[in-house]
Symmetry: C2
DNA sequence: CGGAATCTTGAAAGTGTTCAAATCAAGTGG
DNA sequence: CCACTTGATTTGAACACTTTCAAGATTCCG
């Protein structure tokens, strides 16, 4: 359960075993079966989740009942509803598992505490935030400037691991187009 | 020049005068006339900019020569190309002033140093990052799920100060639609 | 005042959506 | 392991929305 996190931290930082023992104590393991929820609309989000196995998604359901996927999170990614965490308001989103998954949860409070105790963890988070923001910037750019086909090509290029693991209609939803449109785009490539 | 920053920090944190004197030393003041660049495509971005007066925008220019606006930054906002800062690659974007503006610049390195010296500054940045990410999450959601009209209404609701200060065609660009479409949407409201 | 930029409006073309039906694939229970 | 059900993908045709191009009106600023 903790191996993926250890591997991940070793790759990204020069964390030692001692520090990792501290880090470990802050996380709560959780398993989810496919289709189970980590967060449901109306809940207040109070954890950051690190995905050690499987893949999850963050999405909203619009008035017509269709899903809009904001984020996918495979192994070594973090997922949560930051809007809800920051504002402490009930979430407008859902998070569920697309495969049987294993997570490590940490509360925002413990996250801050851990960052102040373990320096490399703090540095990593800072770095992650920057990357996260950079990725969002890129995605916003794609959403407002690219055609449907360009959006798909960029997605395949950026996240090949995800393309092969999630149903096509979910990728369409992530890209903001109908499943039919994505199907047609793929057929003419 | 530093007054806006002081006011801003006092509002958001419980910073004291002593700490603010330290904070001040890390920032480089800079004035920009309307239409002047803070960053041009091809430059490597090496500062975060705090806007103390005026308003700037971050945008790309696509192959056809049209502008896609990623972000507006009026007073008390931060602006930079995080992609370029994180990757240390030349930026694909431009930042320029839409009005005569005054900025306070800080390098990423000094930013980290300042955060480690002044605790409230560090806490503020952490909070800002969370909010920044939450705002991006919201914008991505709007971009993939809303119609053109809904996008505009949400924008007016969220950023009324900006609507009244920037040309309409730039708002269209920010929302990912043509200026004509925005004009028509407005005329039927 | 005059020029430049901005905004509006119309018509035609293009892109993507919707709805419906057919095909294909996967998972489940007997 | 097969038959069946359910979900996913593909395809077609009609429709809706947005863009493009072009021209005219309006506003802004030197």
């Amino acid at each position: 359960m903790y191996q993926t996190l250890y591997k991940y931290l070793k790759e990204k930082t020069d964390i030692g075993e001692r520090d990792f023992e501290i880090v470990k104590t802050y996380f709560i393991p959780k398993k989810l079966r496919k289709k189970q929820y980590l967060l449901q609309e109306g809940d207040i989000c109070d954890h950051f989740a690190f995905v050690s196995k499987g893949i999850l998604r963050l999405y909203s359901i619009d008035p017509k009942g269709s899903e809009n996927i904001i984020q996918f999170a495979p192994e070594e990614w973090w997922i949560s509803d930051r809007e809800s965490i920051v504002s402490r308001n009930p979430s407008k989103y859902n998070i569920d598992a697309l495969e049987d998954s294993e997570l490590l949860l940490i509360t925002p409070k413990n996250h801050r505490e851990l960052a102040s105790r373990v320096k490399v963890f703090d540095e990593l988070q800072e770095n992650l935030n920057q990357r996260h923001i950079a990725a969002h910037q890129k995605r916003i750019h794609a959403a407002i400037s690219y055609s449907a086909e360009e959006k798909y090509l960029e997605f395949v290029d950026t996240y090949p691991q995800i393309v092969s693991r999630v149903p096509q209609h979910m990728i369409a939803s992530y890209l903001g187009m109908s499943p039919e449109t994505l199907s047609r785009i793929r057929s003419r490539i």
